[in-house]
């Protein structure tokens, strides 16, 4: 699968962007040229050598704030995807095996989660658990869990009704054997795809929550929070929101791209697609090199 991945150009685009974002996430604090929390008298300054992206309404260096806000934003997105993965996929897998009562119960809970509007739920959770970044991540993670539940369940259902699982059962395999040997390897690929997608969604949601002031308290910088404060001063700095937005959009784009690439490289259809592409390229090359043969339009593609 890895060898197929590296042949797709979009994989490299996604990988490079994500690597940069990850570096920001890990070293953002260290990279910040000045203290992101320290204000100055230069309020709402235009970009200059001292402040490459200008300053905000309290005179804080915007570049430093964006860099310093990266860990919370990036790690938050990863945390969200991780929570959703655990909360969603484990009951999803078990729903196929633990009998009808468990299946019914989890399905109804997941339906309920899908029906809940996420902002309301997040606000309610913070009201219940206190306003902190981890509480916010937890609530967002739970809200994204249905995706993983469905993906894991669908993959497990498909595999568990296949003859090779039946063959294992007929050799006396226990449910855990079937789960370990046959189902888990098949479920990992679709779960990875969903995780990449969920990290992108998580990033947007975390940004929206911090934009609304949920999760992170004001002086601490986050991408969403920076965007929120920038919007208040559009009259003075109409270009300011562009910086955090570009970062958010690029990251989400790369994550979605990664999800796409993973899907193309892992599934049967992706395999066929890549093979076809290679064959067609080879056929075209051959035809160009040999004498031109009049091509007839085939109807079937």
């Amino acid at each position: 699968m890895l060898s197929r991945l590296v042949r797709l150009p979009s994989f490299w685009v996604a990988a490079v962007i994500l690597l940069l974002v990850l570096l920001l996430g890990v070293f953002g604090d260290v990279l910040a040229p000045s203290n992101p929390l320290k204000g100055s008298s230069e309020v709402l300054a235009a970009p200059s050598l001292a402040h490459p992206l200008g300053t905000d309404y309290l005179g804080r260096d915007v570049l430093s704030r964006i860099l310093a806000g990266s860990p919370v934003s990036v790690l938050g997105a990863i945390e969200v995807a991780g929570i959703a993965l655990v909360v969603g996929s484990i009951p999803g897998l078990l729903s196929v095996y633990l009998g009808r009562a468990f299946e019914w119960l989890t399905l109804r809970i997941i339906d309920t989660l899908i029906a809940l509007p996420f902002l309301v739920f997040a606000v309610a959770m913070t009201a219940l658990l206190g306003n902190g970044i981890n509480q916010a991540m937890l609530s967002v993670g739970i809200l994204l869990a249905p995706v993983f539940y469905r993906v894991a369940r669908a993959a497990a259902l498909q595999v568990s009704s296949s003859p090779y699982v039946e063959a294992a059962t007929l050799s006396g395999a226990s449910a855990s054997w079937v789960l370990r040997r046959h189902i888990l390897p098949k479920v990992l690929a679709p779960l990875g795809i969903s995780a990449a997608g969920a990290a992108g969604t998580g990033l947007v949601i975390v940004a929206s929550l911090t934009f609304l002031g949920i999760g992170v308290q004001p002086p601490a910088p986050t991408w969403g929070g920076i965007l929120a404060s920038d919007l208040g001063y559009l009259d003075y700095q109409p270009y300011a929101p562009v910086f955090p937005i570009v970062l958010i959009v690029l990251t989400v784009l790369a994550l979605n791209l990664l999800a796409d690439v993973l899907r193309d490289a892992s599934g049967q259809s992706g395999r066929v697609m890549l093979k076809k592409r290679a064959l067609r390229r080879a056929a075209k090359k051959r035809r160009r090199s040999s004498a031109p043969i009049p091509q007839r339009a085939g109807e079937l593609t």
């Binding site: 003859p163 090779y164 007929l170 050799s171």
Partner: protein, 278 residues
């Protein structure tokens, strides 16, 4: 054949499927026995219940009534845990129609074939590999294929690997669900030859097929299933030359043969009318 204690006996078995209002009876009072080493064909059309009956024998479906006994052991009385233990002995094995789907696409042929022994436990990896190797030889598969994935070998080789897996536990009864219908002619002949050579006093074969013509040559006896009922059980040559039930007559008359020609169309039409009226 009645003087030998049967290997498998199926007595008055009823099987239902579906729930509530859509509940239907798939098998009505099925009664038959298989002697040790016998080769039996279970023939019926789509929806006749032949697969359901086979699944009942291996415990994938629970019969509502009747008794299925293997070597005098009542299988219908087994609890799920006892079923698992019984299956680990590997005395009944099952070969599916489509080897592409009955072998895990992400597991090498070696791992797939070795799976029953791995599940049973008690042997070292090296011992298992040795057994798999020997089994590969018996089904005429090259050892170099051991590390291949099912998608990387031909259909005939896949089905041979599936048969090797079934034989690894030295079963007394091998149930084959349309084992050759997904293969092309050359492979069909080879697999049938292999199975023919395999049949002996140690292992009985139960062939499930919709087409009498494809397996008649290697069966001793044939059970004909029609709409969930066993309508005829007899020696293969009697079934073919002197079929008693109208459905069996039609089945024999419909099997494509090299010699029949199109002349008995009217005869088939009459049989269809007779069967439709019944």
């Amino acid at each position: 054949m009645t003087d030998i204690a049967p290997l498998l006996s199926v007595e008055g078995v009823d099987v239902h499927y579906g729930r509530g209002a859509r509940r239907k009876q798939a098998i009505h009072a099925a009664d038959f026995a298989i002697a040790p080493g016998e080769v039996v064909g279970l023939i019926g059309e789509t929806g006749s219940g032949k697969s359901t009956l086979a699944r009942a024998i291996i415990g994938l479906v629970r019969p509502e009534a009747g008794r299925i006994a293997f070597h005098e052991e009542d299988l219908t009385a087994l609890t799920p845990a006892k079923w698992r233990a019984f299956r680990r002995t590997g005395v009944i094995q099952y070969v599916f129609q489509d080897p592409l789907r009955s072998l895990d696409p992400d597991m090498t042929l070696h791992d797939s074939v070795a799976e029953p022994l791995l599940i049973r436990g008690g042997l070292t990896r090296a011992q298992i590999t040795e057994k798999v190797r020997r089994q590969f030889g018996k089904v005429l598969l090259d050892e170099t294929l051991l590390s291949r994935l099912p998608g990387q070998v031909s259909g005939g080789q896949r089905q041979r690997a599936a048969i090797a897996r079934a034989l690894l536990t030295e079963p007394r009864l091998l149930i084959l669900d349309e084992p050759v219908s997904a293969l092309d002619s050359a492979n069909r002949v080879q697999i049938l030859e292999l199975l023919h050579a395999l049949a002996g006093p140690d292992v009985a074969l139960l062939f499930i097929s919709h087409d009498l013509g494809s397996v008649a040559g290697i069966t001793d006896r044939v059970i004909v299933l029609y709409r969930g009922r066993i309508v005829e059980v007899d020696r293969t040559d009697s079934i073919i030359n002197r079929p008693a039930h109208p459905y069996t007559k039609l089945l024999v008359g419909s099997a494509p043969t090299l010699t029949a020609g199109g002349s008995d169309r009217q005869w088939r039409d009459r049989l269809r009318a007779e069967l439709g009226a019944a």
